[in-house]
């Protein structure tokens, strides 16, 4: 089966159009963004806890991540890898670029300088970064879809 150039261009346009429609589909909502920020902040803040409680809190964080994955799927009818190509990857790497150094600084302050408050402050900083980062990620995803990517 052979197609001509105009048919190829029309097929590409129809793909872009349907991805644009996807951008107007069901959303995750603010609750999801806040929970994401909460988990990111908690992953930092748990360092302030005694070792046993730290592991209990980490177990809760990982359980929350699994529940968020299910919530996201059910609410939006789709599952997307956070590190998917496009603008979304830049946002995901940006969030990690804040999280990892902050985690290391808080660890150093807590364990070497005995400033146990540092992870709590780090968690407080990370909460809005995670929540707004997640919101920006969704906007980036929508922008990618609207452009047919």
């Amino acid at each position: 089966m052979a197609i001509d150039q105009n048919e190829a261009a029309a097929a590409l346009a129809s793909m872009r159009e349907v991805r644009g429609r996807m951008a107007k589909g069901p959303r995750w909502g603010w609750g999801y963004h806040f929970l994401f920020g909460g988990v990111m902040g908690s992953l930092l803040a748990v360092q302030a806890l005694p070792i046993v409680w730290r592991f209990v809190a980490l177990a809760f964080c990982f359980m929350a991540i699994l529940l968020m994955k299910k919530w996201g799927r059910d609410a939006s009818g789709r599952f997307i890898n956070g590190f998917r190509r496009g603008r979304t990857r830049i946002v995901a790497v940006g969030i990690l670029a804040i999280f990892v150094p902050l985690y290391m600084i808080c660890s150093w302050l807590n364990f070497s300088q005995h400033m146990w408050q540092a992870p709590l402050l780090g968690g407080l900083v990370m909460f809005p970064v995670g929540a707004f980062g997640d919101l920006i990620w969704v906007k980036a995803y929508d922008a990618d879809l609207a452009e047919g990517k």
């Binding site: 261009a9 590409l12 996807m22 009818g77 997307i80 879809l145």
Partner: protein, 104 residues
Amino acid sequence: MSVVPTFDPVIHAPLRLQACAILSSVNEAEFALVRDTLGVSDSVLSKHLKQLEEAGYIKVRKAALGGRQRTWLSFTGKGRKSFAAHVAELERLAATVAAASQPD
């Protein structure tokens, strides 16, 4: 990794091409989302998805949620590669239009 542009008649049918465009933008999509985005009936979409599934391009997974069965769709590795090759072929063909319409 470069993709060899290859026309794929299984993917090229308009509705299947659009369904593949949706699946390529997610890891997994629910049947209802694909159906509503395309604006078609369950039976029409099922017929087209069956062809993609028989070609080994998509995986269909059933999961229960609140006593209701939900169907999830995702590309297989073969499907993702075939779709990328098909899109590359469409872009190659469309580029010849763009080149031909350029003023001298």
